[in-house]
């Protein structure tokens, strides 16, 4: 699928009628259908002087018409209505202020709340974004977006905040965003692990810390808690490597004295160094440095599903930060999908359905993998982004697997150098989201080592290549030059020869927005594929003088089914419902309940004769379901009305009137 097709897809599923007040689209299609009365295959040809008028009942119209509609990609889409720099990282206080300002400016679209407090008492601020004029947030299917459950992965904060800003600023201008917010709710939590997020944004840290919430934990088993973390001992704002002069050491300074390189020739007469570790003091005087860093459990192993003590201790949702999130999810059953921003590696990870309980021999496994690889090769000839995963899913979950594969195929297209893959379980948030709530969950691993720095194409970025990349792309900023420092515990040490923190795990400022934009687009694409029910067509076939067969087809325009397979397995799914009502002179005639094949020559033409006035069902991925009713018309005029309601797919109504 290419970009063009993707946009067409969007436009065809958009509600035009209410926006432009025209009677194109569904209306006209309906009339055509009604006119194409065809003779029943049974051959009881009855000629009726019957006029049928199809009326599309009004659906809730947003009270905010899109006054500033912008149709050109070269046009203005509201960016400067709320100017903000996407070329820097924000502290938690700054980010909260931005969220409050956004909410104040876009009151008709946004609510703000704290979902709870962190261990250190910081609020976890959440924006709820939807067009309030088309319904309450909790009445629409919702996309959850969080960033930086790992404290140091704060470009995830940016991606989540950017998504909020993008939606809010563009609603009045961009028909795509307009449609989205009219039918979908976004719950956006930029910054989940707020204490560690704030530390990473404000204080010197390594690229990898602090990752966890600040639950005191005795990492080194000496009886003391978090007593020996890394520190910026020389006060230069960075925590980098320490080296000590050592005649036996394996490193030497490079010619330009900017980095430590291995001594290649052991006979070389040169000043040698040994790597001591990251910058830090021996805080507890035990002769070791940085052996008990700040922080407790990995918050993304702290969720209840497939939790285990080793990875997620001390107990499921032990951290206020994770518990607040999960309690929010439990209280908001409209959450249909979730996004969780992490780094690094440029991966689109999704919570895949469980594998079928079959045991395969290694031989069978290999055969399967080979066959899949071959199939994927074939598929990629027509779509370079095609995806196929080596998982035979439990048959009860095939719909989910198919839909998710299609979604991440588009993800690969939108995010380009990101690779789709199935994510793990073990107490991870996205596993809990899918397996406990039934929501379709994605984990994005943002950013990676700049691969274009790998000049000799050996698959890795060496220190030299990294330094060159920093010199060229960042004008040299981003590198700590080795310098001497008198360490209170170790004596003289050298510090530096390493990249600064916003390089390897979080992008340098100038690359932040590009990453945020693409990821925001993928979130929006997923939300656009939330189920959307419609009454596709109504056909009327005369049976006898006053008996009519009325066939109605309901469909779901989204890639996602109206409820996930997992929701069904959890017995939490709410069925879609079709109800029929009619004028007094029209009576429903009971027909045997069940599947019927009206036309034996066309097995696809299945209809369901429901019992009574309402039918319950589940619409699958871009699925349709046809129903047939036999009605008796007394007199000359009458009407029949159909209404389809779906918890996550919205509602639609259609009425047909008979005139004889």
């Amino acid at each position: 699928m290419n970009a063009l097709k993707y946009h067409k897809l969007q436009r065809s599923s958009r509600r035009r009628d209410s926006v432009h007040g025209s009677s194109r689209g569904a209306n006209r299609r309906g009339q055509l259908t009604a006119l194409s009365l065809r003779a029943s295959w049974r051959g009881n040809l009855v000629v009726l002087a019957l006029f049928i008028v199809l009326i599309l009942l009004p659906t809730p119209t947003p009270s905010f018409a899109q006054s500033k509609l912008q149709k050109s990609p070269a046009g203005y889409h509201g960016e400067l209505d709320f100017p903000i720099s996407w070329k820097r990282y924000y502290t938690v206080d700054e980010k909260n202020q931005i969220m409050r300002d956004l909410q104040a400016k876009y009151e008709h679209l946004a609510d703000i709340q704290s979902i709870g407090k962190s261990r250190q008492g910081r609020d976890q601020m959440l924006l709820t974004i939807t067009a309030k004029s088309t319904g309450k947030p909790e009445a629409k299917p919702a996309m959850w977006v969080d960033g930086a459950i790992h404290g140091n992965e704060i470009n995830g904060v940016t991606c989540a905040l950017y998504t909020a800003w993008y939606l809010l600023t563009r609603y009045d201008y961009d028909p795509y965003v307009y449609d989205l917010l009219n039918r979908v709710t976004f719950y956006i939590l930029p910054g989940l692990n707020v204490d560690a997020n704030d530390s990473y944004a404000r204080y010197p840290n390594t690229a990898n810390n602090p990752r966890e919430p600040f639950r005191p934990m005795d990492d080194d088993g000496d009886g003391l808690f978090d007593e020996d973390p890394t520190e910026d001992i020389d006060g230069d704002g960075e925590i980098t490597n320490m080296y000590a002069e050592d005649p036996e050491g394996a490193f030497k300074l490079s010619l330009d004295k900017r980095l430590f390189i291995p001594v290649a020739d052991p006979r070389e007469e040169v000043q040698r160094f040994r790597r001591v570790g990251m910058e830090g003091f021996d805080n507890d005087g035990d002769g070791r440095i940085n052996e008990d860093d700040l922080g407790g459990p990995d918050p993304n192993r702290n969720f209840p599903f497939d939790w285990n003590l080793s990875n997620g201790r001390p107990y499921p949702l032990s951290e206020p930060e994770t518990r607040n999130v999960f309690e929010f999810w439990l209280a908001h059953t409209n959450i249909f999908g979730s996004f969780h921003f992490h780094n690094t590696g440029k991966l689109i990870m999704f919570s895949a359905p469980p594998a079928a309980r079959v045991t395969m021999t290694p031989e069978q496994q290999r055969t399967l993998q080979e066959r899949n690889a071959q199939r994927l090769g074939e598929m990629r000839k027509t779509n370079q982004w095609a995806q196929l995963f080596d998982r035979v899913v439990d048959p009860a979950y095939q719909t989910d697997m198919t839909a998710l594969t299609e979604i991440v195929t588009m993800g690969a297209r939108i995010l380009k150098d990101y690779r789709p893959t199935m994510s793990g379980l073990v107490g991870q948030a996205q596993a809990a989201s899918y397996y406990m709530l039934g929501a379709y969950a994605s984990l994005i691993e943002l950013w990676s080592l700049p691969l274009d720095a790998d000049e000799n194409k050996d698959g890795r970025v060496s220190d030299e290549e990294m330094l060159k990349w920093i010199d060229i792309e960042l004008g040299g900023e981003g590198w700590v030059t080795p310098h001497k420092f008198k360490h209170p515990d170790l004596g003289e040490v050298w510090i530096g020869g390493t990249a600064k923190k916003h390089i390897t795990r979080t992008p340098p400022a100038r690359y932040i927005e590009e990453e945020a934009l693409r990821n925001c687009q993928f979130v929006l694409y997923c939300a656009s594929q939330f189920p959307k029910v419609a009454i596709d067509k109504v056909e009327v076939k005369p049976a006898t003088d006053n008996l009519l067969w009325v066939e109605v087809t309901v469909k779901n325009a989204g890639i996602y089914p109206t409820s996930s397979d997992r929701t069904v397995q959890l017995r939490k799914d709410v069925k879609d419902k079709l109800t029929v009502s009619m004028s007094d002179n029209v009576k429903l005639v009971e027909v045997p309940e069940g599947q019927t094949l009206l036309d034996p020559t066309n097995p696809a033409d299945r209809v369901l004769a429901p019992k009574g006035k309402s039918a319950e069902f589940r619409l699958l991925s871009r699925g349709a379901q046809k129903f047939v009713y036999l009605v008796k018309l007394d007199g000359s005029d009458g009407w029949v009305e159909f209404e389809v309601t779906s918890k996550s797919g919205g509602t639609a109504k259609k009425r047909i009137s008979f005139k004889q």
Binding site: R119, Q120, G121, D195, D198, S199, Y203, P210, F214, P216, D218, D219, D220, G221, D222, G223, L224, F225, D226, E227, P229, T230, E231, I233, F281, D282, N283, D284, G285, D286, G287, R288, E291, D293, L294, P304, F305, D306, W307, N308, L309, S310, G312, R313, P314, Y315, P316, L317, S318, F326, L330, P354, L425, V426, G427, Y435, M436, P488, Q569, L570
Partner: protein, 709 residues
């Protein structure tokens, strides 16, 4: 609640017969249940009266906002923790507002006792209060109790489910879970305003109960197929309506569905098919389980735990969610042959022969083979006796339930946890008829209890049936047992008997706790030197040869030796020991003035492994090496249960990781048993004193100062 004169009389009798000890500053009686309100008043009074040996902590709030309390009993003036002895320099505290301070009693071996986790099982609450009274009033007068309170800590949480206990006792609405059953639209209520919520019975041909021939106050259940022509009744809780067939009575309103707190813990909560097996939306979703778990994981010094329930008069040990193969052989022996044996003796039940002759276990296994279908019994050497069982159904190979607290205690925290089901009238009421458990007459025990009620309580525990016109169900009668006297030890003499028995059992368990000690610590000045660097030591095996420097100098080169021993009966961890995430090895520190002490050999902190106890565990032939059984199963939070990976040595960030090898390397790593000999060589400037500190999570923290002369 009505006060009966008889009760007043009973109280007086009790006071006379018990003759409270002199040290009892806060009187307590067991003539009726304390409920939540009475319990809170009592423990607050105790905390106020005994500030030196108690601390009252609110560990959280129930779903309806009632505080959950733990009463800590320990001498508040003794005990220490390692963080008080290690000076931290250059702390990075800009980001860390919450500094973790350990309380002195966290450096003592600990025991946990709780009750009232099921709201309608409050006999355990009473036993908790009895134990509190025994401890605080025995302090200073009873030598054993005094030394226990000085050297150990007992955490008592008499009401873990305040809402359930409050409703069950104060409001007489029997409620197992949390929340408020009485708030349900069709919840129980006092229809005839007689002060009690009893039962309503009315005639109905579809009813399944008839009036008992032998005592018309009682009802007998009859199957629909029974040909009896006696009038049939439907019996419902006063205020409730008959449930539609198969449906459970309405749950509480207001706080979501009522959660059975004892199915809300993280161990074995999931089904094998990855769906919720326990109660609540997730493990620890109830505020009650959450409060308990959060408190406990921050107090790592507990080795013995009791989670009181009713009824039956027996004790569950673990496991309930997995077969016995989840336990190491050593833990099975501690549970059955040590704890179980004592328990059976206390309740007067025959101790299995195999427990008395553990050396003949192989023979017992042979005898059992073919005699039982229970493969676990064969593997173990004995069937579990009636009074001491595990939840897991060995014959059906089926778990008892999901997410029980004792499984969590043992598998995820590492404590010898048990649940005693208190109260068995046949054992706990003197002279009570021995009723054949196979008897077809289901009312036999009921009639005996009614008789006891008539004789000892003047019939006051039972409300006679009185006609009542139910607005919806029509004519019928209201009456029956006052619900709070159902399923729990009857107040007065029977309850006191239960309390005394279980106080003895818990105090016996207290006596088994480990207790580390530094039996000897010496500083031997070898010589002096002008430079700390001049001294060198050559190590060959256990021999250290010192190469001497100058005769006089500002540094004293000191050899420090210490002998460390666990003086308590049990080891400082269960068999899985320090491998359980959150547990750590016992550690020894040598601390001096940081600027004036240089370590030449040995390191400031060194790991000692797990110190064994003094007790020879029956049936265990070899040392602690035999303790870790291959069948160790992991903390299966998720499903299917996962095997806990052994932590590879050298994995950073894990206890037993990077520093394990370095720490242990210097000292004989092969040392096992309850004793350790440790040695350091340090250069000390001046007369700065040295301190040896041993810190064991569950064996206590002790300090010994050494003068360098």
């Amino acid at each position: 609640m009505k006060k009966s004169r008889l009760f007043v009389l009973l109280i007086m009798l009790m006071v006379l017969s018990l003759a409270a000890p002199a040290a009892q500053k806060v009187p307590v009686s067991f003539n009726d249940y304390h409920g939540y309100t009475g319990t809170v008043k009592y423990i607050k009074d105790v905390a106020a009266a005994y500030p030196d040996i108690t601390e009252l902590i609110e560990i959280g709030k129930s779903g309806l906002g009632r505080p959950i309390y733990v009463l800590v009993i320990s001498n508040m003036k003794t005990g220490t923790t390692i963080d008080r002895h290690v000076e931290l320099r250059h702390p990075r505290n800009a980001e860390v507002k919450e500094v973790f301070h350990q309380k002195p009693y966290e450096g003592k071996p600990g025991q946990w006792i709780d009750g009232g986790m099921h709201g309608n099982e409050y006999t355990g609450t009473e036993v908790c209060l009895y134990i509190i009274d025994k401890l605080v009033s025995g302090y200073g007068s009873n030598a054993e109790i005094t030394s226990a309170i000085d050297a150990k800590v007992i955490y008592v949480c008499p009401v873990t489910n305040p809402d359930g206990v409050f409703n069950s006792v104060e409001r007489e609405i029997s409620q197992r879970g949390n929340g408020d059953l009485g708030a349900a639209k069709d919840g129980p209520r006092d229809l005839n305003a007689d002060g009690h919520i009893t039962q309503f019975r009315f005639k109905d041909t579809k009813g399944t109960s008839v009036i008992d021939d032998k005592d018309p106050r009682l009802m007998v259940r009859l199957p629909a197929s029974d040909p009896s022509t006696k009038p049939r009744y439907i019996v419902v809780t006063e205020g409730q309506k008959p449930a539609a067939s198969g449906a459970r009575p309405a749950g509480p309103a207001g706080v979501g569905a009522s959660i059975d707190v004892n199915r809300n813990f993280p161990e074995g909560w999931w089904t094998d098919e990855s769906f919720a097996g326990g109660t609540g939306a997730y493990p620890t979703s109830s505020p009650e389980a959450h409060a308990l778990v959060e408190f406990v994981v921050n107090h790592r010094n507990i080795l013995m735990t009791q989670n009181f329930h009713t009824s039956g008069g027996f004790t569950y040990r673990v496991p309930g969610t997995a077969p016995d193969t989840a336990l190491a052989a050593k833990d099975v022996a501690v549970y059955d042959l040590v704890l179980g044996k004592k328990y059976l003796e206390l309740i007067g039940e025959k101790v299995p022969e195999a427990w008395l002759k553990p050396e003949q276990m192989a023979d017992f296994k042979t005898k059992l083979r073919g005699a039982t279908k229970n493969k676990y019994a064969v593997e173990r050497g004995y069937e579990m006796p009636r009074g001491w069982i595990m939840g897991y159904n060995e014959e059906r190979d089926q778990r008892y339930g999901y997410g029980m607290v004792i499984d969590w205690w043992f598998q995820q925290y590492g404590a010898y946890a048990v649940t005693t089901e208190l109260w068995n009238p046949a054992n706990d009421i003197p002279g009570f008829p021995k009723i054949d458990p196979q008897s077809q007459d289901r009312n036999e025990q009921e009639r005996a209890l009614l008789k006891y009620n008539d004789e000892k309580y003047g019939g006051k525990l039972f409300v006679a049936w009185k006609p009542f016109k139910h607005p919806e169900l029509g004519d019928g009668e209201i009456g029956g047992w006052i619900p709070k006297y159902r399923g729990n030890a009857l107040p007065g003499e029977p309850l006191l008997g239960v309390c005394e028995k279980h106080w003895q059992f818990e105090f016996f368990r207290n006596g088994l706790l480990p207790q580390v000690a530094i039996t000897e610590a010496k500083a031997n000045v070898l010589y002096t030197s002008n430079s700390a660097k001049e001294a060198t030591a050559v190590v060959q095996g256990d021999q250290v040869t010192i190469k001497k420097g100058a005769a006089k100098g500002k540094y004293k080169i000191v050899e420090v030796t210490a002998t460390i021993e666990n003086k308590g009966p049990l080891a400082t961890h269960v068999a899985r020991g320090a491998q359980l995430p959150g547990n750590r090895d016992d550690v020894v520190w040598l601390v001096g003035d940081r600027d004036k002490t240089k370590f030449l050999q040995g390191e400031p902190s060194m790991r000692l492994g797990v110190l064994d106890g003094q007790m020879r565990i029956p049936g265990m032939t070899s040392g602690p090496g035999a303790a870790s059984a291959p069948g160790q199963r992991g903390s299966g939070g998720g499903a299917p249960p996962q095997v806990l990976p052994q932590m590879p040595p050298g994995m950073p960030g894990m206890p037993g990781g990077q520093r394990g090898q370095r720490g242990q390397g210097a000292q004989s790593p092969q040392q096992t048993g309850p004793r350790r000999e440790v040695k350091w060589l340090v250069a000390v400037e001046g007369d700065a004193p040295l301190k040896v500190i041993v810190t064991s999570q569950k064996g206590g923290t002790v300090v010994k100062e050494i003068a360098v002369k």
